[in-house]
Symmetry: C2
Subunit: 303 residues, 2 copies
């Protein structure tokens, strides 16, 4: 694995966390922002389709979208198993990238294939050391948190104990859990259950064609068409430990924030300098990404 | 209008606020509680169907249910216009009742027909002066608040400005707005818009086959099958005054409480003596019913 490119040292990294179904045909506001944050038309973009079993088809969609947006250096990294994900030649492509885009599919597949591999490590390194832009949509968005919403049988606004479970994600966000297609698939109940289980994790529900653009330790912006829903259970009281499986949960004092596209929430200065106190902790939870202990596997010696 | 019966002086009144579709065939937990709170099998029950245009059909449903539950003195008060609602003979029947049950239909119709009439006044008098039980389901539940959710085009979890409006209700609850069929019809968005418009009003969303049993100035209980959702916007920040019609609302710091059936929330003592602080104000908002300034129209002299 070659050393990291130092073309843009010290630039602050961004995460673009997309709720799925982002516009790929029209103005492509979200994909356009991703390219801009990666460095513009000449940025090296790698599309990672490992969450899906239809990798070729997904690549074709993004190939067309990125071409339409004037990007000049984008390529597909097709990874189907952990052996490929641990191949230093593949990791090198990530290490040289300015932006990595993780498509949808199944977040459990994505993490099973790349979690803890050289690919994973390389993404963390370019994000932290060189300020690359890491984007994920749908399953690719869910996978960005350390504790990842893995499975759920919930189909309601109301959480029931035992419907929803987490597993290990890629760890870009340490103190938040991402959910996607949020309003469209009415996922409030399942995200509330995650918060009931883990009141120290912020629930982040992102609508379709909507993205949270996170600037490390500074703040975030909501772009696209929908809303980002934050569920803050840190001062919540619940009966989670007392009730049986499948019982409805009692949750008292969950703070709910609805942040529609167009909002900018930065802790210090910026376009919106006065953030309500109740939101400041939530912003800190979403943006405390640089302390992530990335899985720093050593690259094998090159032959 | 005759003087109020004093059979049960000083008994504390109850409101039974039902989210619609309560069980009328099986164990009938909610209807059974209504009869119990009205005084048991010998209580005088009046069924008010004025919210509906199918008054006879609704009466037949409740006639059968109350008979099955062993009630012995129940009758139908069919009111179709304000003239009937202002007839002292009809008001007398309310004044002599121990329990009044308002069926579903359309809450705007209900209030247009009985709001401010002798019937309305009589219901408030027996509730306040003699501790009668006043129940309402669906439209009959919505009508119980002073500010009543009247119309909405919202069909989503996310509130947009201008989708939802209030009008004048019957005023049993002064500091809360009731919504019904809450989870089943996914009405979070419309209740959030009401709270955005009126942060001093508590949003109360009641599920189907679920009831909030309110004891005046003391506390409440959730019975039935579902959950009661409370939305407390008193410390909320929103962009309601700044955005155009149909724009998505930004809401920061709405307190969300989910209270499933089985929960008892009383401010002083009772089965659950320690209520979390964050819920105490909400309980006060729901239970401050006795200060209601009922429309005390004078009855016309009898001929």
């Amino acid at each position: 694995m070659s050393s990291i490119s130092d073309r843009q040292p010290g630039r602050s990294g961004h995460l673009v966390i997309i709720g799925g179904a982002e516009d790929r045909e029209g103005a492509k506001v979200i994909l356009s922002r991703f390219i801009e944050l990666a460095g513009g038309p000449s940025a090296k973009i790698v599309v990672l389709t490992a969450a899906s079993t239809a990798q070729k088809e997904l690549w074709e969609i993004y190939e067309r979208a990125f071409r339409d947006l004037g990007a000049r250096d984008y390529s597909h990294l097709k990874i189907s198993n952990r052996e490929q994900a641990s191949d230093p030649r593949h990791a090198d492509r990530i290490l040289n990238a300015d932006g990595v885009f993780m498509t949808g599919g199944d977040q459990k597949r994505l993490c099973a294939v790349i979690g803890g591999t050289l690919i994973d490590s390389a993404m963390h390194r370019i994000f932290r050391e060189r300020g690359a832009c890491i984007a994920g949509t749908s399953a690719g968005a869910s996978a960005m948190s350390e504790h990842m919403l893995a499975t759920s049988t919930a189909d309601d606004l109301l959480p029931e104990k035992g419907e929803t479970s987490v597993s290990a994600g890629l760890g870009f966000l340490q103190r938040a859990v991402i959910d996607q297609h949020f309003s469209q698939r009415r996922r409030l109940g399942r995200l509330l259950e995650i918060v009931a289980q883990n009141p120290y994790l912020l629930g982040v529900g992102i609508d379709e064609d909507t993205a949270l653009v996170v600037e490390n330790r500074a703040g975030f912006e909501v772009i696209g068409k929908g809303t980002v829903t934050l569920l803050d259970g840190r001062q919540m009281t619940s009966n989670f430990l007392e009730v049986e499986q499948s019982q409805r949960l009692e949750l008292i004092n969950v703070k709910l924030h609805l942040l529609p596209a167009g909002g900018r929430y930065f802790l210090h200065g910026g376009a919106r300098s006065q953030v309500p106190a109740a939101l400041q902790e939530a912003i800190a939870a979403v943006t405390s990404v640089s302390t992530v202990a990335a899985p720093e596997y050593s690259a094998p010696e090159k032959a």
